[in-house]
């Protein structure tokens, strides 16, 4: 079965990691990507504009009920949780989860619930535990769990916590994550 959605979570150090990962994906990439990068509640559209410079894929700050399209990158907006429904996104201003809004757990858990084994979860550099629970749910629902090698992470706390808690499918240096995603999405026939 084809992978339709890749959900990515990161906090401290995420900007440069995302730059590398998204920058290595080709224009005809066959899955959609949704990203939670922890950020300040009043930060503006700067993150999306910044990342757009490094990728050929169109980057969106998600607006409520936006459709999920293959080959697009969707960023959780500041001060909202990003949730995956089947085929589109919803936003919420529910309480922060693990002190974070947007929360990685919220994105990953909702993606697992809507897309089951057609989703790949990626945990990158990060300084707290938000994302561990989500990746664990995603794995339990049949999705693929990939974690950045803590030795290549600007902040290894989150990758280490994820590896300790979950039987992940792959631990990869940052530079190897995009090639693996391309391989996984191609191997299943798009």
């Amino acid at each position: 079965m084809a992978y339709e959605l890749i959900v990515i979570g990161t906090s401290l150090g995420g900007l440069s990691a995302l730059k590398t990962l998204l920058g290595a994906l080709p224009q005809d990439f066959s899955a959609a990507l949704a990203v939670v990068q922890h950020r300040h509640r009043e930060s503006d559209q700067g993150l999306g504009n910044f990342l757009q410079q490094f990728t050929v894929l169109p980057v969106h700050e998600v607006e409520d009920k936006e459709c999920i399209q293959a080959g697009h990158v969707y960023l959780a907006p500041a001060d909202y949780h990003l949730l995956v429904e089947y085929g589109y996104f919803s936003l919420s201003i529910d309480e922060p989860v693990s002190y974070a809004r947007p929360s990685i757990d919220v994105l990953l858990e909702s993606a697992a619930d809507s897309y089951n084994e057609r989703v790949i979860g990626v945990i990158l550099t990060g300084a707290n535990q938000d994302g561990v629970k989500g990746l664990s749910t995603l794995k339990a629902r049949g999705g693929v769990a990939i974690v950045q090698d803590p030795d290549t992470a600007e902040s290894p706390v989150l990758p280490r916590a994820a590896i300790a808690a979950i039987a992940v499918d792959a631990i990869l240096p940052l530079s190897q994550i995009a090639p693996r995603l391309i391989h996984l999405c191609a191997a299943t026939g798009g």
Partner: protein, 276 residues
């Protein structure tokens, strides 16, 4: 018609929501599923109930539990001058248009505990328009309306609110708008004078007046596309010609049936103007 086959855990949620509707008339059937499920799970933890199926059985026989669930399923995140740039845009883009009317009716739909209603009252007062306005502030939830009517909020929030007030373009000293007592503040009674608080459910209730401005921020995000279209129909039919619609920062008219019924007034702040 073919039946939609649901996964077992989705089926439990579906039955719970149907039960709430048919037993009590609480209609969550067209809420956006992902956040609804999270809130049900969080309610289970609070009530120490193991499964959705157990909750369903309890809710159908225990009205108090159903009412707690109702509160648990509705969101009440708010603050005075939340998203200050919205108020800046409102001052710059909307206020000049409102000056042309002798009398203004404003509907704040989903007002929760009232902070954003009083923020608008302050803005209108500073712009010299307040005496011409009537603000209808509604919510489906009677408990939050009780708080809203009182206009009493914890003192410890004032530091945050003061900063937001200044970023929102406030022209006075924020402390002029409240009196502090013990750990609370009460807002100046003048800010309530032209506000009518009332119960109104966007899912089940219809239009009740014609308005120059409708504000509904971060409420529709909890609805699925079907229900969003229905509520946008209600708003469209409740706005006068060239009336103003204000949504939350990441909400949009774009993915609804009413996309072409409005012009952008302040695109980034989701202020729209009804075409005709």
């Amino acid at each position: 018609m073919l039946a939609t086959i649901l996964k077992p855990d989705d089926l439990d949620v579906h039955l719970l929501i149907e039960g709430l509707y048919h037993r009590y008339g609480y209609d969550f059937r067209n809420y956006a599923p992902a956040s609804l499920k999270r809130r049900i799970q969080s309610f289970l933890r609070t009530e120490q109930i193991a499964t959705v199926a157990e909750l369903q059985a309890q809710v159908l026989t225990d009205r108090a539990c159903a009412e707690r669930l109702l509160l648990g399923l509705t969101v009440n995140t708010t603050a005075m001058f939340r998203d200050p740039s919205f108020y800046v845009a409102f001052r710059q883009q909307v206020v000049p248009l409102l000056r042309t009317y002798p009398f203004l009716r404003i509907w704040h739909a989903g007002c929760s505990t009232g902070q954003e209603v009083y923020s608008m009252a302050i803005l209108l007062q500073e712009e010299g328009l307040y005496h011409r306005c009537r603000i209808y502030a509604t919510d489906a939830n009677d408990r939050v309306l009780q708080i809203a009517r009182q206009g009493i909020y914890p003192y410890k929030q004032m530091q945050d609110y003061t900063q937001l007030y200044l970023k929102a373009g406030g022209q006075r000293t924020f402390s002029e708008y409240y009196t502090a007592k013990y750990n609370n503040v009460i807002l100046r009674p003048a800010l309530r004078e032209r506000v009518v608080f009332g119960e109104h459910n966007l899912v089940t209730d219809g239009s009740f007046n014609e308005f120059n401005v409708i504000i509904c921020r971060n409420v529709l995000i909890y609805f699925n596309p079907t229900l969003q279209n229905q509520v946008h129909g209600l708003f469209y039919n409740s706005l006068c010609k060239f009336g103003i619609l204000g949504l939350g920062k990441q909400e949009t008219i774009r993915f609804t049936k009413y996309e072409t019924a409005y012009d952008d007034l302040a695109k980034a702040e989701k202020l729209y103007r009804r075409r005709n």
